[in-house]
């Protein structure tokens, strides 16, 4: 944590603590701001208020027990965390999930991406002073959460995936319910555009604000829609495909200038692409080619000892490139587990882009990066 105080400032400047109890920080982030009039001179983000020592906790649990910890990283897209963890451990132990499980994994990941981007859409609207979109976003999100509840009983923290597959096949009637949701959801994207995207106040508050150039975005290691908003075409699903993403037909939306609006609109377009991928997965899963019921790799015990080695697996989570670096010493517990949290790396750029912004734009820039503090602090 930064020991940033108000001592070293000049007479015409002012020191402001933005957070950690500020509603638009989406958790417990503190930004130490030095302002001159309305202009931010210096910004130092301060994280760690939610630190739980995850990486230490991993070492004290065996591979199956450690799975539930991953849910608590980015709690709005727990499926991606489960998936990245499972992929890393599977790589380490040389396990391959059956094809049906891989389709289900992609399906729930994309559904979770929709749910997670809806949280962004709703809260970003609230940050910009528009409350109504939030109500619409959470109505649709609730439907997606109901689908997850039907699938595994959890609404937020799923632990649905297992090392070697997923915990259960889709329940009867789930595919139809999911199709109903997508049919309902796809036209809603147009509603969102009329509600928020084309709102002149929203446009003037986000366009040209918090611009991140492509070269800076790459250097700071941004990932996900925050990177693609700057026009950099990097998506783990395309560049380093995992599961069955190489069989999916989708495009990666890109922004042009890297302003808050571009990052926002990338996410909006991604939801449409995710809905398409959900349909493609449903089509594949409703056929009989993928043996129904075969969702776990055979012979994976509850406790196992992967051979000594190191593995890294990463997925495109809602917020960016989420990676797990796993080290095994041949024992029951991971010897070392490192989480590359995209939010943690995305939030670091604030110190550069906030300098020179108006103080009212701090909320817009922070909101457009879409961070989850559970993942920043780990």
């Amino acid at each position: 944590m930064t020991k940033e105080t108000s001592t070293a400032i000049k007479a015409d400047q002012m020191f402001i603590n933005f957070g950690p109890q500020h509603p638009s920080t989406h958790g417990v982030l503190r930004i130490a701001l030095t302002v001159e009039g309305e202009v931010v001179i210096k910004a130092r983000p301060d994280v760690g208020y939610l630190h739980r020592g995850m990486e230490k906790l991993f070492e004290a649990r065996n591979y199956s027990q450690a799975l539930v910890l991953t849910d608590r990283l980015d709690y709005t897209s727990a499926m991606h965390n489960n998936l990245a963890y499972c992929l890393a451990v599977e790589k380490l132990a040389g396990i391959e999930a059956p094809l049906r499980a891989q389709y289900i994994r992609v399906l729930v990941s994309e559904l979770n991406r929709i749910a997670s981007h809806l949280v962004f859409f709703g809260t970003f609207g609230v940050d910009m002073g528009a409350f109504t979109p939030f109500l619409y976003a959470f109505r649709e999100r609730e439907m997606a959460l109901d689908l997850f509840e039907m699938l595994c009983g959890g609404r937020l923290l799923y632990s649905y995936m297992r090392v070697g597959g997923v915990s259960a096949d889709l329940p009867p009637g789930w595919i139809e319910k999911c199709r109903e949701f997508i049919t309902f959801f796809k036209p809603r994207l147009k509603d969102y555009d009329t509600l928020l995207t084309s709102n002149p106040i929203f446009r003037s508050r986000t366009e040209g604000v918090g611009v991140i150039g492509a070269e800076r975005a790459v250097s700071w290691g941004l990932s996900g829609p925050s990177l693609r908003g700057s026009g950099v075409n990097f998506d783990v699903r395309k560049n380093d495909p995992y599961c069955v993403y190489d069989k999916m037909n989708f495009t990666v939306p890109l922004g042009k200038t890297g302003c808050c609006f571009d990052r926002y609109y990338c996410r909006m377009l991604e939801m449409g692409q995710s809905a398409e991928m959900v349909l493609q997965c449903l089509d594949a899963l409703s056929g009989a080619e993928l043996n129904p019921g075969e969702v776990m790799a055979k012979g994976v015990p509850k406790m196992f000892k992967p051979a000594a080695g190191q593995a890294y697996a990463h997925v495109e989570a809602s917020r960016g490139d989420l990676g797990f670096f796993a080290v095994s010493d041949g024992g029951l517990n991971p010897y070392r587990m490192h989480v590359r949290g995209p939010s943690f790396i995305n939030v670091a750029i604030l110190q550069e882009i906030l300098a020179g912004c108006k103080i009212a734009d701090v909320v817009a820039v922070l909101g457009s990066l879409d961070i989850v503090l559970g993942e920043v602090d780990r």
Binding site: M1, T2, K3, V47, G48, H51, G53, E55, K56, L57, E59, A60, R61, Q65, K91, L92, R216, V218, S219, W220, G221, V232, F234, N239, D240, A308, G309, Q310, A311, Y312, H314, D321, G323, F325, V327, D329, G330, G331, L332, N333, P334, Y335, R336, H338, R340, F344, I345, A348, I349, E352, D377, R378
Partner: protein, 178 residues
């Protein structure tokens, strides 16, 4: 250009650079001596367009972990913590993953340093801005110093924190929150 060719090219100027015996699965893994780490990364960035730093992390190979490092976990009994086994040695291994977004290549770099109080590696700050917070995190968790980092202070734990939590010999000192 494949990673093999890049390695061969770099090895002419940096003979210490080698392929790792135990690679990170499915990724080309090289071992780099600490003194040439920064130059190798600079060369990778400027000549081979490796412009993206994915991961900076470290492993403490001294195992086994002290059970006293986990104050509130009843599941931890001596012997239940990972032991490092045959791999145990007195080193910190700093791991970097760098990638080239344009060429779609990804390389893991591993750098072993002796496990001492003042263990240090050169900082990659300035080559990759992403190193800023990730190196601070490694410093916070392992106490490895990154020479040349302009703001190397704790990031996730409070400044009152004693010791470095991810070191295997870390012992938790009860405080007012216990």
């Amino acid at each position: 250009m494949t990673t093999e060719e890049i390695l061969a090219n770099l090895q002419t100027s940096f003979p210490g650079l080698a392929k790792a015996e135990l690679p990170i699965k499915n990724y080309p893994t090289w071992t780099v001596p600490a003194q040439s780490l920064r130059v190798v990364c600079e060369r990778l960035r400027s000549k081979f367009s490796f412009d993206y730093l994915d991961v900076v992390t470290a492993t403490d190979w001294s195992g086994p972990a002290s059970p006293k490092g986990y104050p509130r976990s009843p599941a931890v009994t001596p012997g239940a913590t990972p032991a490092a086994g045959a791999l145990a040695r007195d080193v910190f291994e700093v791991v970097y993953i760098v990638s080239s977004l344009s060429a779609g290549l990804r390389i893991c770099l591993r750098c072993e340093i002796p496990r001492t109080e003042g263990a240090s590696v050169p900082s990659l700050y300035g080559i990759f801005m992403a190193a800023d917070w990730q190196e601070r995190e490694v410093y916070d968790m392992f106490g490895i110093k990154f020479e040349g980092h302009p703001n190397l202070i704790r990031i996730l734990t409070p400044e009152t924190q004693q010791g470095y939590p991810l070191r295997k010999d870390y012992e938790h000192i009860p405080d007012k929150f216990d």
